[in-house]
Symmetry: C5
Subunit: 373 residues, 5 copies
């Protein structure tokens, strides 16, 4: 994205998502819109519907977009791509968006949050994706009286099932208001976490297998990366709890009591996700311990082999050394008479065999000769 | 259960219970009932009773079930198995169950919770079972004015003692209302945790024995599994505290003040269970430390044996090596005159014995010759 | 106590107190009194007093007990032993005790707690004892208008000083009401923790000495046991904070404002105890680290000895090996002419001495020859 | 700065920022102004502005400064350097600053805080700088009705962008009040944390690379230093949350409701910074584990080489030792007949080769011959 | 102090301050004054002052003391030494001190706290001293309408600067009331922590140096002791936060609103101290990790030396062993013909040199020959 990303490819291990990019230079006035030059240009799509029908268009100009407003009971304007400050500013004016909120739309590293403004309700949520790493994308929602405006960083989202429900007549969503559309979209964001977490659970399983069976230098990197990804997930999931808690508990004029009940359901789901993420975090944290103990056991095994070999052969070599001495048997009857014994050599070999047997008994008593300890 | 389970048998180590299965695809409309195709078909049993009698039946059809309602002071409809969306929907309509609550009944990975709806009180709890691992099963309760509706994942539960109390005349439960039945059932769920935790405590004891006596590669896996099971228990037990706290403290029209006192008792029991689970968690966490130190001590012991053997024999072998040199005693009187000494060989052997004695004295001073350090 | 205890003697290491025994089978109706068959039979003693005198008796029957009530300003009925359900039930009826409270009296693993009932105030506290392990005993208190009823698991308690104060005329307690007696008893329970904790502190001191000086396999078990005992103490002490906080802050009709001030003092003491227990816990937790580092240092020392011996003698043995080769000096002047040198042998020995000197200089530079590193 | 700093250069490793310097001796009366003798002398600059213009001056005397006040809608007096108690006292009197607040200005180790006084609002914040270590500098703000007074430890700050906005006509800040200037300055302080944290993230990346690739003694020092710096950042960032929370939530007469909305934005930014710092802290904490496991793996590798070499050559040397024994083949046919075999030597060499092959097969089965395990 | 201290000198390592001594036997009636027999006898000094003058005396009797009261606007009675129960009781009656408060004065292990009584305000604080270990001393304050009564364990305190301010006319304290005197004394107690913490920081610096450079068995003891001292400091500092929070926030009739502002300043200082102590605790906790990694690296270095020496010489010794075999070259041309080669011996030596070169190349590739890795 930014020129920074090139440098990072040299240091690719840590924190893709943990890094923060603040576009506006420090001290810039509030509401400054400094667009990431590599961000895609905005693409605007509109879905407007009511109980009796719906329409789906790509207005070529902002004037064309403006013409849509107010014609249908509910209008959903979706903007993919944040790469054009002028378009965003024009949209901001059209929908009476506070400059601070618009700035947050562009600085795409916001925590999930709800901020009520005079004319609309501003909600930020984070969609999640699992490639090699966990990636998150900011989605900004503005709820007006009969419209929802969404901003996404790039094309591609998890809202297709919602669009399908709007397209098919008879779905409850067609009869409900803009607040229910907001719920449906946020619910889709939350639901999209489930398959990601299931997939992540599979990865943790595989990782655990590896840690137990053959821990290598690469394994600890994988554990470390899993922890980092879980931190990313955690930072994405936790603030959503507050979002849904606020949407469910704080009465806001734009949201009906009936829809609030649905947000309680989202709140429940978020709690489940948090539960799961925390459980995974503990599991990953355990894996470090398991890894270290696995490495220690490997070391023990290596040392045991060395010790067995060495303690068996060192005495044998010593015995061989004894009878390799050159004391002159002819100089005295005390000097290595074994060398001239009839069974001298078998006697030495027998001594060695006896030593080996004693050693093996010793090791068996120590329990070192079992299969894998 | 699901096709996923087959894949998991290849990676069986981690998180049977920690894994989450969300049936409905992300973005599905709220209240969508997507039934697990492998879930057992629902079996409905009804127990209806009053101070003067009781009846126990398996209504063959939903109409037959409907005929029961309202005839007795208290009716308990129990549904085992969640494998038929139509039956569940029909039950939902019969008892005015909110679609979101019905969806939670089917997505059997809810946390324990209480949710008051307009017509009834929805309670979720988790029953626990200890096989090789700790397994939990979701039980969903709906409390109406004079009926309790329970949904279980499969046949087999911990409610038999409650049924017995209903069957025997004279028990307090016969005279009390539906709210007391709800209490009795939830109390049975909580009580069933105690033997599980006692059994788990025994396992931890045995595990500790093993960690101290002979820690192997399998041991750390067992510790790891125990930690995982404790996480499962923890996630099952903690939310119940909130459930009973809410049932005890928040006045709800369907529950009498008298019954609320009983929920305080359940709350107390839950606190005890939490206490116990947290204590076990600390114990299991300690075991990792004990394990690592046990492995370190093993290593020390191995190294000590190696060091004793090596440091005794290496100097001996060196002495033998000296007198194995081939310097020619005839070329000069300085060249290895020992070889021709009268007591040359005994002198060399004596040198070796002296070395061994010195070494042993050194090791005794180091305290390395004690029994087990 | 229970048949379970026999099995446990085979696994005696973990959690005497951490284990929970729930007498009633799961699902039993609330208020079921299932008495531990091995619990001692109840022994009832009564002390009744007023400003002008006191009496101390063991009523032979419950009727005799009943005759005492109301005759003196304050009556203290103490029950040692919980082994007879009928007696307990009769007492419960005599003093209007709620069945749930009576059940808690028998299930002697309650956390400390205060529960106001209609006719009396139910308080549970845990007395502590330090044998080989830390043991706790549940004491249940019922405060009525002019009587205190206490239940203990067995004979023997920390209330003797309170009895002495009642026996001696002129003590403030004689003039005060039943609420002050409750305070005096609870204060005695809290005070009894202090010598236990002092003794435990001494043990931790001794344990630390051992960890630093000569850590063995037994040491880590002791550290582990100390941690377990601290968990027991912690679980006993923490809930008492809530008890005294409630007694001090929540106005209860049975307790006068003046006595509430005394409960604030108990609250203070409990905070001190908690402080102390938490400090000990941190200390014990530190000991594990100290132990592991102690073991590592031992290992380093062993390795150092091995390395010094091996690195000195291996090169020497090699030199000896060189001159033990059998190349024929007569076959060529290049073949081991040293063997026939006049000073060949002294030259070889000199080479060895030089090697030793070089090695020793190397070790001194490494700092490996210091006393204890 | 102080004479203390000289001593510290001998112990430069720990806590530049973690050390606290309290200027006034213990027990000094409150409000005592004890100036650090090495602190730079105060330099006063004034920027005064309104919608129609602005002026920027360095008043030579305090009287000249006094003449400025009240002439423009907003006046910003900035004081760089705290080295003259008289000047500070005179300023304190001119602006009705409470002695305790003035004392806090000089003791430059305050946590960030907001303290409302009768005549003005006192805010402390900490600017951050990343040299070799993380350094922080205290900035004290006093907000009056139409003036902001700022004190900095030394020349050089992050306020230049704010000055630029004041200089350029048309910026919103020119039309707003003193409270908005306070916001703009505090926002600049917060914004300045972002590039610091980005840079710090890069350092953590590089450090992680090093920990994984070649962990040395210096690496753990770097990890340790990173942790220390993160502690400094944490202590700087956390209290700012409370500051902006108070400025946003607590109504203060000097701050308009409109400006309060801007402080909510600062609050959001602070939460992001805290998030980031906590994430970095977890990462740094993980690095210690990774480091330890990296060192363990290195050890394993070393041991494996030693074991392979030793276990291969020790048996070979033993075989050579056997045939170096001097038993006399002429004394008996049993004495080392191999020495005179036709293929005796090739037989011995073959025995050795066979031993090596067996050993290598054994190591391959152990998986010790893989590239880097 | 107590007889206990003698026993402790045999186990001097742990917890001088962590140990609790409760004077009164368990179960003693509340308000029992059991004086430590070794505590110094009380010495009473009085400073009484007003805007116009002051007097400083040592009243020989309690009657003489009594004569002072009420004559001056503010009277400060200081008692050094708690070794005489009668004197303390008489003072208690003279100043209407509640028996429970007086008991707390004597049991000198109270946490810092504020307790409002009917006639006065009781405050406990802990002074701190840094000898070999951190020591704390309890100071008890009673604030009456126009008097402050302080009790200290022994002569020697941090109040001298306050006395100086009273002695010098014109100081604000002379004109203020007794509540301001209480503030001045508590502020002196808090201020006295700063130099202690600075000194402690220096010690941690030195300790860190040692841990990094040459970690010995003594080092881990020092780290352990530092942790223990930090626990003591923590237990002394944390409760003071609550004290000043209460003095600042809770309106108490004896303290004027103006003085409350000064307590807010003390509160701020306490927060800074807590911050510092927590930072030191994290640093000390880090040191354990650094220590363990330092020890591991030492081990690695030792193993590396052993491995290099052994892997170089073991093959050489094997080669020498080969040519030390006694196969008879005359028995067959296949039997060790090298022995009779013209360049046999140089060939063997060359083989050895080649082996060494290969080994050194191998070690260089492994990077084991660098200076300190």
């Amino acid at each position: 994205m930014s020129p920074k990303s090139k440098r990072k490819s040299a240091l690719p291990l840590l924190m893709h998502e943990e890094r923060f990019h603040h576009r506006a230079p420090p001290g810039a006035p509030p509401g400054t819109l400094i667009v990431d030059p590599q961000a895609p240009k905005p693409v605007i799509t509109v879905i407007a519907y009511g109980p009796d029908g719906f329409t789906e268009e790509r207005p070529p100009t902002l004037e064309a977009l403006s013409a849509f407003l107010g014609r249908w009971p509910v209008t959903w304007i979706n903007v993919d791509g944040l790469g054009d400050a002028d378009v965003l500013k024009a949209l901001g004016e059209m929908f009476h968006i506070h400059p601070l909120a618009l700035e947050d739309v562009i600085n795409v590293h916001q925590r999930s949050k709800v901020e009520p403004y005079k004319d609309n309700l501003f909600v930020v949520a984070r969609m999640v994706e699992l490639k090699a790493d966990v990636l998150t994308e900011q989605v900004s929602f503005f709820l007006g009286a009969n419209a929802v405006l969404t901003f996404q960083e790039r094309v591609g989202d998890c809202f297709e099932p919602v669009r399908d429900r709007i397209r098919k007549p008879g779905h409850r969503i067609r009869a409900a208001g803009a607040d229910f559309l907001l719920y449906a979209l946020l619910d889709a964001v939350v639901d999209a976490y489930y398959p990601i977490l299931e997939e992540f659970g599979d990865r943790l399983d595989a990782l655990q297998e590896e840690v137990m069976a053959k821990p290598t230098r690469a394994t600890i990197t994988l554990v470390h990366n899993a922890k980092r990804d879980l931190r990313t997930l955690r930072r994405a999931v936790w603030p959503m709890r507050e979002v849904f808690n606020a949407l469910y508990r704080d009465p806001v004029p734009l949201i009906t009591a009936d829809t609030r009940l649905y947000f309680r359901d989202c709140y429940d789901h978020t709690i489940q996700l948090i539960d799961l993420v925390e459980t995974y975090r503990e599991t990953a944290s355990d894996l470090t311990d398991v890894y270290l103990s696995s490495v220690s056991l490997k070391m023990n095994e290596i040392m045991k082999v060395l010790t067995i070999i060495a303690t068996i052969f060192i005495p044998l070599t010593f015995i061989a050394g004894i009878y390799g001495m050159n004391f002159n048997p002819e100089a005295s009857p005390w000097n290595m008479p074994e060398l001239n014994w009839w069974l001298g050599y078998p006697f030495a070999l027998g001594l060695m065999v006896a030593t080996v047997v004693v050693m093996l008994l010793f090791f068996r008593r120590k329990g070192w000769l079992g299969p894998n300890r």
